[in-house]
């Protein structure tokens, strides 16, 4: 431990506000980006689901002959 007490750790020798502001902004904005990306993914999945149930399974082609289900569990 480079500090004598928890208070000294928080104070960072007077540089506390600078250090903690950086770490706070870093984590806050990163979290926003991750949550936004997850929301986008959810919306995309719902979009595909809606389209495939809405028009039924009468897909006009495109599917390859050697179709194999992709294992995408545990993401």
């Amino acid at each position: 431990m480079a500090f004598d007490s928890f208070d000294a750790f928080v104070a960072m020798g007077g540089h506390g506000p600078y250090v903690w502001a950086c770490y706070f902004v870093f984590f806050a904005l990163s979290l926003v980006l991750v949550l936004w990306s997850r929301a986008q993914r959810k919306a995309a999945l719902q979009g595909v689901a809606r389209r495939s149930t809405g028009r039924g399974e009468t897909d006009t082609g495109k599917a390859p002959a050697d179709f194999v289900r992709v294992d995408s569990s545990n993401h």
């Binding site: 500090f3 020798g13 600078y18 950086c22 599917a63």
Partner: protein
């Protein structure tokens, strides 16, 4: 060789591989990054000149490092888009751009906050800071151009050209601290020399950089999968994937 190349370009193949890789990228990345940061914040010794404000380095350097690396990766993908018309390369460019923009902003922000107690100013228009600001605008440009063109193919080509032209900025950022007088200190890590700081400082820093690389990989996979779902929504394999029990 060509078969592998073809496979790599297949969104369906990529989707499956990404799903398998993502938990590893996420948890190894979180572990490395958090360990590096906690070590750096609480256990590394203070800097004899800068005191404790230097502890910002443990997020500033990883952000700045990744901001440039991500741009280089995007430039390689842009070249692949233009030469081989590989769709997946464009998917990467579009998915990575917002992440790169955030990393660049974070590098600039943490740098400014670090500059205040260290240099006595938030910002100066010197070469390093200005070229990083240009990098941020390049990212914004790529995002805006990509979303402004509806046609998938023209959008891919336009963004690829912009990203490739902008890559000239990367060596300027890299060598700005050597070519011009600047307040910014020179590079922390060099391939050819031992780091100029004690191991108690550079080991946690390296851990944070590697951890953030892995976390970027995770987020890039997640965002690429989303982009693939949107683009390939009409194909049968995507429909199978989202069907109940399909486990997307």
């Amino acid at each position: 060789m060509w078969q592998l190349f073809h496979k790599l370009g297949s969104p369906k193949w990529f989707y499956g591989i990404a799903s398998r890789l993502m938990p590893w990228l996420l948890w190894t990345g979180v572990a490395l990054f958090m360990a590096g940061i906690i070590w750096g914040l609480a256990f590394a010794p203070p800097d004899y000149l800068q005191g404790n404000s230097y502890r910002i380095i443990f997020i500033h350097v990883p952000s700045a490092f990744l901001a440039q690396s991500v741009y280089i990766m995007m430039a390689v993908a842009a070249l692949v888009t233009l030469v081989w018309r590989m769709k997946l390369a464009d998917v990467f460019v579009k998915s990575a751009a917002p992440v790169g923009a955030l990393l660049t902003f974070l590098a600039l922000f943490t740098g400014a906050v670090w500059g205040k107690p260290t240099w006595g100013t938030w910002w100066i228009w010197d070469a390093r800071l200005t070229s990083m600001l240009i990098l941020l605008f390049l990212y914004f440009g790529a995002i805006a151009l990509g979303s402004a063109i509806a046609d998938e193919k023209s959008s891919a080509r336009a963004v690829a050209v912009l990203v490739l032209v902008g890559v000239v900025n990367i060596p300027i950022i890299k060598y700005s601290v050597e070519w011009w007088n600047t307040l910014h200190q020179p590079a922390t890590f060099k391939l050819t020399e031992k780091p100029s700081m004690p191991a108690d400082m550079w080991v946690p820093l390296l851990m944070a950089v590697l951890g953030l690389y892995l976390l970027f990989g995770w987020l890039a996979c997640l965002r690429m999968q989303t982009e693939i779902l949107v683009r390939e929504g009409r194909t049968r394999w995507v429909k199978e994937l989202v069907r109940p029990g399909g486990n997307a």
